[in-house]
Every structure is written in C-alpha cells, then in structure tokens.
Symmetry: C2
Subunit: 201 residues, 2 copies
DNA sequence: GCATTTAATTGATCGCCGTTCAATTTAAAA
DNA sequence: TTTTAAATTGAACGGCGATCAATTAAATGC
C-alpha cells in the first residue's frame, strides 16, 4: 500500500527481528519461514526482502539477537558470582543453561550458515568477539602473570571444548553414550587445562 | 511398473544409499533432495518411500555410510601408526582430516536430526559406539592401570572437546577468532586432560 | 490545493520441496 | 491362463524462497 507511516524503517526492522526470534524460538530452525514471520508481523513476504535485502540477512539479525541475550545472561551470572575462583565454572554453567533454556535459538546459531564465500557482517562478529572476550578475561584472571599471554588462545580452545560438550548434550550424543552429566565433564576438562597452564605445562 | 526384476530390494537400498551419499557429498545437506536422488538412481520419488518408509530413514542410512567411512579411515590411520604414544594424536588428526575431506557428509551428521521424540535406530547407535570404542581403547592404553576405569567417561568427554574444535574449524568460528591451528589446539587440550588423569588429578 | 514524483507494499507467479496415494504394471501363485 | 499380490509411477497438495510488475500512499513541487 505504498510508503506507510505506521512504522519507520527502524521500527519495521525491530518488528521483524523480534517476531522472527519468537518464531524461531517456538518452532526451531527447520520450521522457520519468512512467510510466517511476515504474516505474524502483519506485512507480506516482499517487505522482508525490501527491508533486509534477503532472508539470510534477517536470519543473521535474529541470531544476533540470540547472541545479545546470551551475552546478557552470561554477564548477569558472572556479576552474581562472589567467589572469584568459581567464576569460570559459573561461565560454563551459563553456557549450558542458556543453550538448554533457548534450545531452538541456540541451535540455530550453528544450523544457519551463510552461503559459501560470504562472511558474517561486522556487527555479528563483534557480538561473538564480546562473548569470547568475557571468557578471555575470566581465564586470564585465574592464570599467573607468567603465563597470562596464553589466555587468548586458551580461551578460544576452551570455548570450543565447552561448545562440544554442550552440543553433544543437546543433540543426544551424550545420552547415547551413557554420559549423564555433560556439564560436570565440561567443567572437568576446563579445570584440567587451566591446571596445566598454571603449572606452566 | 510393478515388481521389477532388475533390482532386488537390497540392491535398491544400496543404489539409493550410495547415490544419496554421493549427492549429499556434492551439494551438502541443505540442497539434498529426495527427488534428485531418485532421478539419479533412475527411479521415481515414491520408490524411496516404498523402500525406506520415509526420507528420514534414507538420511539415517546415508549418515550411517558416512560413519562407516569414518571408522575405516580412523582405523587405517591408527594401524599405520607405529609409535604407541602417538596414536592418540593420530586419532585426533584422523578426526579432523576426515571432517575436512568430507565436509558436506560430515556436517550432515550433525545438521540432520530425527524429529523430537524419535531416537536413532540401533544400527546407527552401534556405529557411533564403534567410534567411541576406538577412542576408549586408545585412552585406556595411555592411562596407568590405577586410573584406567576413567577411560570411558574421559573418552566421551575428549570426543566432545575434539568435536568442538573440529566444528569451530569447519564453521569459521576459529577463523573469526584468529585461531589458525585448531588441530594443534585440540591435541593440546587432550594432552592436558590425559596428563591430569595420569597424575591422578 | 493539486499534480507530480518517489518510495513502500503487495501478492501472484515461478520453480522447487516432501509427502501421499490412486492407478498402473509386473511377477508370482493358483 | 487367470488371479492375486507387490512394486512403481507420477499427478496432486500444500508450503517454501525468491522475484517483480502493479498498486498505493506519502513527499515534493507548483
């Protein structure tokens, strides 16, 4: 119906991203559909392509919102953690609890992939870097200064380890293999590597 | 055209699974299509449903074939490994090299999920258990008898760690975070935990 | 206030997809 | 040879992402 004044371009983006996130959270990535989001927002499919340029671009925004929620969740947990030594474990617990509490949204972070050759936009990479930065900070805090330069590569690596544990917990692999406490296993692996780093190897 | 004699039921299964695996390997999970597999095999879509019951069942068979290849690859690498101490690293290398060499097929192992509530068939679970068993054996081999009972949970956990590293290597997360040697990081994490286990904590 | 320009919005259209199932064809059984 | 049973087909259905000519409403110029 032409350039309408009921919503600005920014309001429109917000509507689509918020509703997209809600739909994704409800039905999961495989049942997510642009048509359905548009219908729920009260616009037609074409408007998504007008506002975002592509469905992929909307998906990146929706996943970006999940990352925002994850960052907030992680920082809330950490700021409620009095004991300095327990902060790393709290971060791992937050990783798991967020994934478990937002199954569909969290899974979509990894199920959705941009076409080969195109990379994530800067705003998305920055959100991922923020999460990584939190972990780098916490790792650095438990390392003696003599090995503190290892914090960055160690944080990346431990993030991958924890991710693997969380992924296997959610996709049923751990259940299949008889592991009934994936979180404890993840914490133990992180503790192993931190202990090794502290003792200089 | 009715019960044809050009292929037995078993031959038909083999044709579909083999061609399905080839198509999956070529185009990846998102572009995989039942119609296309059927066309390439020279039958029509309906035959897939007649032979396998559902597209999901065909997908499980195709993923099962990927697991078969993975097991064979892993065991070939290990049997070419003279040095006993290097076997664990060889297994990790095999994990990465298989995933890198069969990107689409390997990724589909995790992108494809059965509907909520239904679990993988026994034959599939056994293949996963076989891979796990190999890792359990290699872990057990490097542990002193005093802590050998830890081999099973440790193997599951280290499998998850390596998976996380491999996943981040393939999906670009590590590149995004500046990690340029994910394999080395994975090996280091495994070494950390094995060292901790050997020293009894 | 009216006409013109510009931009937003629509939804039909296209070519795919998975899934179903009546109709057909073929081999085996009687 | 007829009958029965099983295998195979492909049209049909509903839904998807993507495109884009047509339409509508606001902004601009007069």
């Amino acid at each position: 119906m032409g350039r309408r004044s009921d919503h600005s371009r920014e309001e429109l983006r917000e509507l689509f991203v918020a509703q997209g996130h809600a739909l994704l959270s409800e039905v999961g990535f495989v049942r997510f559909s642009a048509r359905e989001v548009a219908k729920q927002v009260g616009y037609s499919v074409g408007t998504i392509y007008n506002v975002f340029g592509s469905l992929d671009a909307l998906m990146v925004e929706v996943n970006g919102r999940t990352l925002d929620m994850w960052i907030a969740f992680l920082e809330a947990r950490l700021s409620a953690c009095e004991d300095g030594a327990a902060r790393l474990d709290a971060a791992i617990g937050a990783y798991f609890d967020f994934a478990l509490g937002h199954r569909h949204a969290w899974t979509a972070l990894y199920d959705f992939r941009l076409p080969d050759g195109s990379e994530s936009p800067a705003f998305y990479r920055e959100k991922v870097a923020t999460i990584t930065g939190v972990i780098v900070r916490e790792i650095a805090a438990v390392l003696p200064v003599s090995v503190r330069e290892r914090a960055v590569p160690l944080a990346r690596s431990l993030l991958a380890s924890v991710h693997g544990h969380c992924f296997f917990a959610l996709n049923g692999t751990f259940a299949m293999l008889g592991e009934d406490d994936p979180l404890a296993a993840a914490k133990a692996r992180v503790a192993d590597s931190v202990a090794c780093a502290i003792s200089g190897r």
